[in-house]
């Protein structure tokens, strides 16, 4: 475990050094991100110009959820999306060979070799915005509520990592599943709204099976004092099942790796 933490530190360090080469890029991306944050908050405000509540959620509650959803997005981009996005390229060009040749868990190398460090500025901004929205809504969570929120948030990250890891694993056969990031973005955008907006049979499907609820709804409900026990069990179940499935699928796929010609 310590070895992998040390390795991760080195990956992270290399990515930081690389990004410092392109300082202006990081600055520009942060500006674009602030713009999208404005658009997101603006769209929530627009919706609440027409209605008083959204599936039982007040405006300030939805704003908190929107910020948590964006924070979720930024953290995934910082820690594993960069690596997973490059996977298709590595398979097509045979550079995955070098990952397999290293005496390190190949899944770890694939997922965490490229951290997008520039997201750190965005994450800091989002944490400040979240704190300010919580204050604005008159919510001051206890340490237990913060712990519960963090646990749900982490479970969501693990589940989404596992799901998208399974998607990129199909590259072993399909070679070019390049646009998965678009699908990923759509899911994350949908997760910025309360899952209660889905009605009837769709609700359990989108809340638990996809599972959009884990992006933010379940975590934010802890702050709002509306936590559901079923969400807790679903989160644990999803973490275990997706971890197991994605690992088995990865091992199976490795046996079908054909490499690229020289």
């Amino acid at each position: 475990m310590f070895r992998y933490l040390k390795l991760y530190f080195h990956f992270f360090r290399n990515c930081l050094v690389r990004e410092l080469e392109f300082r202006f890029n990081a600055f520009l991306l942060s500006l674009v991100h602030i713009f999208w944050l404005g658009v997101m908050l603006g769209s929530v405000t627009l919706i609440f110009g027409q209605v008083d509540s959204l599936a039982g959620w007040r405006k300030e509650e939805v704003l908190i959820l929107a910020v948590v959803g964006m924070l979720f997005h930024d953290i995934t981009e910082m820690f594993f999306i960069g690596g997973l996005q490059r996977f298709s390229y590595f398979i097509r060009h045979g550079e995955f060979d070098f990952i397999l040749l290293k005496p390190v868990n190949s899944r770890f190398m694939t997922s965490f070799r490229y951290a997008e460090f520039q997201n750190i500025f965005r994450i800091i901004i989002m944490i400040f915005v979240l704190a300010s929205f919580l204050r604005g809504a008159g919510i001051s969570p206890s340490i237990y509520e913060w712990a519960g929120f963090s646990a749900f948030f982490l479970a969501g990250l693990i589940v989404f990592y596992n799901i998208f890891f399974m998607v990129i694993t199909t590259n072993f056969w399909l070679i070019n599943v390049f646009n998965f990031n678009d699908i990923f973005d759509r899911f994350l955008s949908a997760g910025r709204y309360p899952v209660d907006i889905f009605k009837g049979r769709l609700k359990p499907f989108f809340a638990y099976v996809i599972p959009l609820g884990l992006i933010g709804t379940f975590a934010v409900e802890i702050f709002l004092g509306r936590a559901r026990l079923v969400s807790f069990w679903i989160a644990i179940l999803m973490v275990v099942v997706t971890s197991l499935l994605s690992e088995l699928f990865w091992r199976f796929a490795l046996k079908h790796y054909q490499s690229a010609s020289s």
Binding site: H10, N14, R18, E95, F98, L101, P103, Y257, S261
Partner: protein
């Protein structure tokens, strides 16, 4: 005990075929035609510790696929392989820490960072102790003379400089078994020589077992005593390089320097001329006729100088692949 042992290794691929053009792409979208490619077809060999073996064959013969099977990248269709006592496809860390694969056309260096950053990362990945790392790095950097480019971003290096850095990245953990897949491809003669000298030195110093593939026969001639020839996935020769000449070259080259011009047409009627550029005349003579034809040439032609040579190994291999007669 052999360091590398390969028994009846087979690797077949299913490849889909597409007719050219847009219509072909549409058809392939609906119905794809697949066929089997026998990349490696039942090959067996053993290599002892410290051997430097040349692995040659035309494009698509199965060289790289074999190396990828040996390094555990590809699961074979059939057969058994043991490298240093390990099954490569288990990809155990202990195995991976003792081997290295260098591919001349691919790179593992971080593109936007100086090479030294990749070296430092590999130190951590292979868990090389700091004193050993420093010693090995100093030694490799001096041997390849790249002190001044260590801190330059990889994308700004020339192909030759990059290849030298690739070699260092692959050798920092002092592997006992090294697979070199065309390490000199695209390099100029100076860089080529430097890399070859380095491989020879590394093999001698570390008693490393090395398999080298190259399209340049010069590389193989300079470094390897033993060669394996592969074509269409099958091993068609495994032995001493000098045996290839004995086995496949049934001719010798008799080179004559003439001191007076003669009519090329007349000479061609009487002698088996390979090339004639006055004053040099080269005859391609069957081994059992060398004495007779040489004596006749001395008698009938104005010869100033004469030498008898084996044909170039490159020519023999070319003829071997073109003629496809491996009997």
């Amino acid at each position: 005990m052999a360091v590398i042992s390969v028994q009846n290794l087979k690797k077949f691929y299913k490849v889909h075929q597409k007719e050219p053009g847009f219509w072909g792409s549409l058809k392939s979208l609906v119905k794809r035609k697949y066929y089997d490619v026998k990349a490696v077809d039942d090959i067996s060999f053993e290599i002892e510790e410290g051997e430097l073996v040349g692995f040659i064959g035309p494009n698509g013969a199965g060289k790289t696929t074999t190396l990828k099977c040996l390094s555990g990248l590809l699961y074979p269709t059939a057969g058994q392989v043991r490298i240093l006592g390990f099954n490569p496809w288990d990809r155990k860390n202990q195995f991976l820490k003792q081997i290295s694969l260098v591919m001349g056309q691919k790179n593992q260096l971080w593109w936007d960072l100086p090479a030294i950053e990749t070296f430092n990362l590999n130190k951590e990945i292979y868990e090389v102790p700091t004193p050993q790392y420093k010693k090995t790095l100093d030694e490799l950097v001096q041997l390849l003379e790249i002190e001044d480019i260590l801190k330059v971003q990889v994308r700004k290096l020339s192909l030759g400089q990059r290849m030298k850095c690739e070699l260092i990245a692959a050798l920092l953990h002092s592997p006992k078994v090294l697979f070199l897949d065309e390490p000199t491809i695209g390099l100029d003669v100076v860089s080529q020589k430097k890399i070859l000298d380095f491989i020879r030195e590394y093999n001698k110093k570390h008693q490393a077992t090395i398999i080298l593939t190259s399209h340049y026969m010069g590389d193989i001639e300079q470094l390897c005593q033993r060669v394996m020839v592969i074509d269409n996935g099958r091993l068609c020769f495994d032995g001493q390089l000098s045996d290839i000449i004995q086995k496949y070259a049934d001719h010798k080259l008799v080179s004559l320097i003439l001191n007076k011009e003669v009519d090329p047409k007349v000479v061609a009627k009487v002698f088996p001329v390979k090339e004639f550029n006055y004053p040099k005349l080269v005859l391609n003579v069957k081994r059992d006729q060398v004495a007779g034809i040489t004596a006749r040439a001395l008698e009938q032609l104005p010869v100033a100088d004469l030498s008898i040579e084996e044909p170039a190994i490159e020519d023999i291999i070319r003829e071997l692949f073109t003629g496809k007669d491996y009997a």
